[in-house]
Symmetry: D2
Subunit: 246 residues, 4 copies
């Protein structure tokens, strides 16, 4: 059985300017995520950044990616439109996409969902956050308890301006009084998309064993869309199946 | 235009044994709800209780009810199965149902949703609760701000064991750390159902202007299902429409 | 890895009175379904009927069933309520249920969905029917082409009075002019339910390779709910997680 | 009460080259649709085409439109991207959009849904088509019978590559053997979108009284999103609501 080819894409900007981020993620957020995914025998993981040739999103890379993980924030506007289009096309053709934290402000997230970027309320904060499992039997929630506990996270809150999710796996509680549907699936073309809220760069959320479990589960879930039954393109006209009554 | 015929049904038990409840709701919870709904010119409201003939759920009453509001808790098991069946039939035929607070443990709620009664986690508590509007343009949320603030409420929490809701209007935050999808719609047959979590008997939630607004909006929303296009029963066989190719 | 324990339950009535049915299904519809499922190494299949002790639905059988397949029609009213309750409880606890053809009129289907039995339009007919795959990447549609072709089927048509499905896998076309959402999933408690329309007793639908593929796929899909993360019952009260601000 | 400001936008191309189209719609498809909507006292209707200044989609027009009706086919690529962006922004802000027939290939439909244009199977045909009402109580289906009968229509068929619809109002049957979910709602930002399949330019579908009823109903339904509770933009950070436990 062939391995799931995972690409972890990261803008890799906060690490360069904020020593707190580098302290938490010495190899960058991408390095950390690649690190814990590497422990899975069914995955083959590579990490890419905005600094790489073709912004780390070359045709060659994307054509050989089953599941793409995306972390971006400050650099959303820097991603070239043709790279966004390529990711979009790959998702429509069946590549999985896992959009982390502030990826809700990215061009690719907005384009795939048909929503405006940044469509939430928010507050830079060090709130305690509890990420509740609301669909305990969803494959993305496998192996978790009733909730994930994060000592500190940035608050993202309702109302979401995203389209109604196809499935809701998690809802987050924030100490400051807010809630957010924070683990969401969307089906687009042949592809599967998972959005997951935790992961502000100044907190160690990606070192949390439960967060790691969610991302690992999500890779396997999103990969299930990558072997499409049918290519989805504007199809040629078809012939009638039933004889007509003339 | 004819008025919406609303029946507020209440088991009316806590009021008899707990002076705190009677202090908050001198005419009973049913009297309080009837009281604020009476202010709407498009509604004609009656209040009934378990103590009434036919448990306040006679055929005559239900056949002349467009929207039924239900509050029950201790007395769930006392409601006769044939009355439950009658309410069920009326909802399938288009009567609206608004299930309040612990109505999630009632026979009628379980029967209409296809779920077990009591399917939540809970904690008797005096938690502060914030009820977030997650679908601001839903008619049931009309006129509200970003959230409803309740000084004290009983905690009901995820995971819900109810079927996936057809629409989610509210999600509640509880001071103790929990969240709950707390304002839910379900379509059943020709009828519309709205579940709303606030309303523990020892707290003044039904005196809260925003809670009153929600229930008032929900009456109008649930009434929209009461003029069904088509009776829904096991229909007689139909004739083919298209000629067949023989 | 342990096998999926499948129980094929059949009322087994038409076979006794209609020689056409016996000619198509010499071992009964249950025998035919057991026959083709037996070819799967990951399944352990038993067939039971209404004639068996405890109506073929004993506690012992149901407690040892991961996925239950249900075919009934004439005998719906004969199934004892306590057996219906037991099946209902098992589904809430995670047993999968595959409801075939006229199972939409059964007590268990109505009870789990919160709908009235028989909620469709219909016509006894020998219509050609095309069962279109509308979600090609759903696991239940794996290995199929664009549609399943059935030379003759009974017409079941819209509007469905069932609750809005959680997922729609198939929509059927009937020669006489009707359509039906004919492959539907519902999640209830910890259990997964799949309804599939083809299978009138006087037509050889269960000998069709594509129909067999659908049922085989559905067994595996429905089994995924059988190892619940959490028992779902009215839970004991929980302790608060977050300290409160008093 | 102020009127619903409806703009009927049409590329107006087939009428210029195909005499059959002009014979059916002497004032263009836009003129026909404006004509029957004009009969409603609660609507104020204008018709615009690609030939008009700013392609009939000026900021002034769109800022004064509550519900936009869109018919395009050959000219999809001619619509300027900045006009598409303006329509997109207006829908996110609450303008309703009714996308007719081949509008599924338009830039605006693809952009709002997050799908590829043209994502269906099709066949230029003169099939008889029956458009079944699958949600009889939906406001868009008000006043219809069980189905709409169209003597001739172009076939559009499953599988749809669009995202799972938020609601399904109609499913179409085609004489040649296909089916299509043909009346679909989507919620995007503050706006409501309705897609409706009938309306090939060489058939008189827009002269059909039932089709006219659907479009009229859809205008009123889509208008309900136009008075948003809350502006939806990337919001400024908010202050915490609950005191934190430090």
């Amino acid at each position: 059985m062939s391995k799931i080819r995972v690409t972890v894409w990261h803008e890799n900007m906060h690490e360069k300017t904020d020593p707190r981020v580098l302290a938490l993620y010495p190899n960058g957020i991408h390095g950390t995520i690649k690190g814990f995914l590497d422990e899975n025998e069914d995955m083959e993981v590579r990490a890419c950044t905005l600094d790489d040739p073709d912004q780390g999103l070359s045709d060659e890379i994307l054509d050989n990616t089953d599941v793409l993980i995306w972390w971006g924030h400050m650099g959303h506007a820097l991603v070239n439109d043709d790279r966004v289009q390529k990711v979009y096309d790959r998702v429509q053709d069946g590549m999985g996409l896992i959009a982390l934290h502030s990826a809700h402000g990215s061009k690719i997230f907005a384009k795939l969902l048909g929503t405006r970027a940044w469509g939430i309320t928010w507050r830079e904060s060090d709130d305690r956050s509890l990420v509740w499992v609301v669909e305990p039997n969803h494959p993305i929630a496998a192996g978790l308890g009733r909730y994930i506990e994060l000592e500190k996270e940035e608050m993202y809150g309702e109302p979401l301006q995203f389209p109604r999710p196809d499935e809701i796996v998690f809802i987050s509680w924030f100490e400051g009084g807010e809630v957010m549907r924070s683990g969401l699936t969307y089906f687009r073309g042949n592809g599967r998309i998972f959005y997951f809220q935790p992961g502000h760069e100044t907190y160690p959320s990606y070192n949390n064993p439960d967060v790691r479990k969610v991302i690992t589960n999500a890779v396997r879930w999103a990969n299930a869309g990558t072997k499409p039954q049918q290519p989805l393109n504007c199809p040629p006209p078809v012939a009638p199946i039933a004889p007509k009554n003339k």
